[in-house]
Symmetry: C4
Amino acid sequence: MIKLNYTELRHTPSLSPLQHKIHEIIFEADTFWGKVFDVVLLICIFLSVTVTACDSVESLHSEYGYYFNIAEWTFTILFTIEYFFRLYCVAKPWLYGISFFGIIDLMAILPSYLSLFIDGPELQFLSVIRILRFFRVFRLFKLVHFTNEVELMLDSLKRSIKRIAIFTFYVFIIVFCLGAVMYIIEGPENGFTSIPVSVYWAVVTLTTVGYGDISPKTPLGRTFSFFIMLLGYGIIAIPTGIVTSEMMLPKKTITTRTCSFCCREGHDPDAKFCKYCGKPLD
Amino acid sequence: MIKLNYTELRHTPSLSPLQHKIHEIIFEADTFWGKVFDVVLLICIFLSVTVTACDSVESLHSEYGYYFNIAEWTFTILFTIEYFFRLYCVAKPWLYGISFFGIIDLMAILPSYLSLFIDGPELQFLSVIRILRFFRVFRLFKLVHFTNEVELMLDSLKRSIKRIAIFTFYVFIIVFCLGAVMYIIEGPENGFTSIPVSVYWAVVTLTTVGYGDISPKTPLGRTFSFFIMLLGYGIIAIPTGIVTSEMMLPKKTITTRTCSFCCREGHDPDAKFCKYCGKPLD
Amino acid sequence: MIKLNYTELRHTPSLSPLQHKIHEIIFEADTFWGKVFDVVLLICIFLSVTVTACDSVESLHSEYGYYFNIAEWTFTILFTIEYFFRLYCVAKPWLYGISFFGIIDLMAILPSYLSLFIDGPELQFLSVIRILRFFRVFRLFKLVHFTNEVELMLDSLKRSIKRIAIFTFYVFIIVFCLGAVMYIIEGPENGFTSIPVSVYWAVVTLTTVGYGDISPKTPLGRTFSFFIMLLGYGIIAIPTGIVTSEMMLPKKTITTRTCSFCCREGHDPDAKFCKYCGKPLD
Amino acid sequence: MIKLNYTELRHTPSLSPLQHKIHEIIFEADTFWGKVFDVVLLICIFLSVTVTACDSVESLHSEYGYYFNIAEWTFTILFTIEYFFRLYCVAKPWLYGISFFGIIDLMAILPSYLSLFIDGPELQFLSVIRILRFFRVFRLFKLVHFTNEVELMLDSLKRSIKRIAIFTFYVFIIVFCLGAVMYIIEGPENGFTSIPVSVYWAVVTLTTVGYGDISPKTPLGRTFSFFIMLLGYGIIAIPTGIVTSEMMLPKKTITTRTCSFCCREGHDPDAKFCKYCGKPLD
């Protein structure tokens, strides 16, 4: 999802030299101006998010609200220009527009324009949507050369996602049943006003967050909490075990070498011969 | 416990063709109608649990209580029919009735019928018992093909259950003694009203849940809490260590084959040829 | 500490046949009566601890205090008789008296007798000391055959104790400095009344317990808390890493074989020759 | 940073015999007087930090403030003398002055002197800065022979620092977006007064600290919290996985030697003979 094959988009012959040039600056980080652009964009994103965050603080809003508004519109206009340049310099603008980053880019500017036409409580909602422009930061990962490390981590996560999904599903059912039992034990008079609230409490307890806004009061409820907490202790070990065991695998299987005879992959880095057909590897 | 050998039950010659057909639909997920049945059942379980949960919310109950009651009885009747079909299509109904899922199935319908004869505070208790029908979802794991992954996780847990039991026992004793000491230090005037309450506090602290309904007030009690928390830090590492080390075992024990030509080890389980010398592996 | 070499004590020729017999029953779990004794003892310990715990609950004490007192004295007399039998049947009673379990045994009975002579607030203190008799449970591990598993876990802990000690020391210094900084930032008006209290808060935060009795109020304090919490996230990974990596080792190095030529240990289970001197191993 | 090459500084020929002698005592721990000096210094640091901590407690300050002040000045003068001796006995005093420990040493004494010229609220700030002298303890690690263990742990951390940095960055962005969404859902009337406050809540929740000073009140907010907490469950597994997998590497990468006679691998680093055939290893 994150890796849009920009190179492919770019090598379409229909791009004019100017488009090529802009594409290089905006989408790539290899040239000097490409890097400058990325750093400026990074600063803009951080500043605009900071402005939105500060604007939500009542005391700052009443005092500097006017300046925040100006800053907000400046960033919106800058991002709008950038958005159109991005659309201009790719071979298939609509394809970019519906890509992950295309939508994020649009969401970064749309709320400001919509706020011109909308009034009332929805206005605040819109101004907060802007904070999603923070996601644009992910694009700039190509600037810092973390790609390989990120790949490795995402890879570990991807391979363990299925097991974590099952685990989450189990936790979901357990939490539901624990919450229901706790609702019977404690009851509305001790803060467990309904099953959904009890389930909320069970999640807060099992994940060891423990806000304390709801806590067991009766001896039986506290005894039952003992076991929930000890269960949480054991349960927290499972995702850790999954991720750790996955993370220790990649050291062995990083290579992407393919046998030129049988076209099979998955050879160890120290392999000299294909393990499937026995032919020498390159 | 979860794996009831249904296949065995079914191949008993006493089953009529109709029973065979129903068995295939209800108990298996290989045929089209089997899958349809499982999906419908899954939806029914989720809906009925949601209804029970919503019904426990005071504001929703007073407004939609009537509709919730209708929905509840609809699901109860559906589950009752299903239950009798299950009993009908197995060779030994009583054997199914006392199996894990047989009891769960009965518990899913019984409370509604009992509520007809019982009145007063027990009524609420009964209505919540219904939520245990959520456990029926586990039966549907055969639908989603997670069996292999689940097997692996359960296997890791099973192998580490003994060590986790010992660990829990140790934690139990430690928590009891810590609670007693804390009761002496803080005393009833700081919220540690009795030893059971202090033990409850010790569990809440050691598992890093930390509600905050009871917390140390005296300097000595807080100093002592330091060590309990640091201990909890160390202790949380143990179940994680156990589960992780168990989870990593299967990956390792697979590859012990040695090439009979170059005597080298470390071949993948799917390797047919030695990756060092290219000779065929045994 | 836990393993007292009872066998050695027993084989001293000075023991009479009666002493031998009693020793077998009390200290060992191989014979029928030895097992019966251990089970009875286990039940007595659990019951007496439960009585002490219940007696500390105000409402139970005022109602059943009289019966609790009787039960308490019954257990005290039983444990006293047991203590004297233990002293009687070992060859060197004073050596047993100063051993770990000897002291625990004494502490299990002493508080009750002392309570006859002492009055006032110390009385409550004494009654709670009794709860330490719970530690006697550890003696009964020889009953359940968990020895091997426990050995393995203790072994992992023992080997990682040095690294965990260093880690704890680092955490201690970090927590102290973080607490001091937080004291400057938040100050007494936000609940951080002194440096020790701030350090207490830092421990509560870093270990992710988070009671909430003290929490940052100022924007700067909350920003600083961000980093403490993220630090805690990273720090919790270290003891887990230590214990896990130690736990995965023992599978390789359980053997206690010693080379009969150079007397060195540490050979792998599959070793046929001493890796130090090259002589064949047994 | 921590390892200043003192040896190099010392072997400069310009040092007089007296300087050599003092250097040996102050900077090294091999000789008897060097060890005595280090132990005395350790005690002084601990005492002075304890004094500063106790002085911040209001009740202790009003009663013993006078004595704390005397103790504080005694330690300050002692540390000043030590500081000048350190400067005196190194070949390049200014190089030591700007080193990590040189700055820490200066910060340990400066606040006391500055407090003579400054009055008002800054005074308290200065007195707390003194607590940073606790960092001087790290110098004394050479006393306790933990160097090897610490090296190993720092090494694991160093190798995983890049991945942890990326991870922290991701967590930072996720927490920001979650906080913004929660601000929309709950709003100022439920304690989520601004985006920064909501982000603070998101960090407190995701790291499972859970103070409870801010907690979701609306059903939607609580449902959303479910997923944040479950996410936190998964996320806490990642740094653990990183550190654990790094910590387990050194044990593995040590043994790659192969016997030149039987071609078998898996020899321990200290092995001199092949454990399979008994032939000498290279």
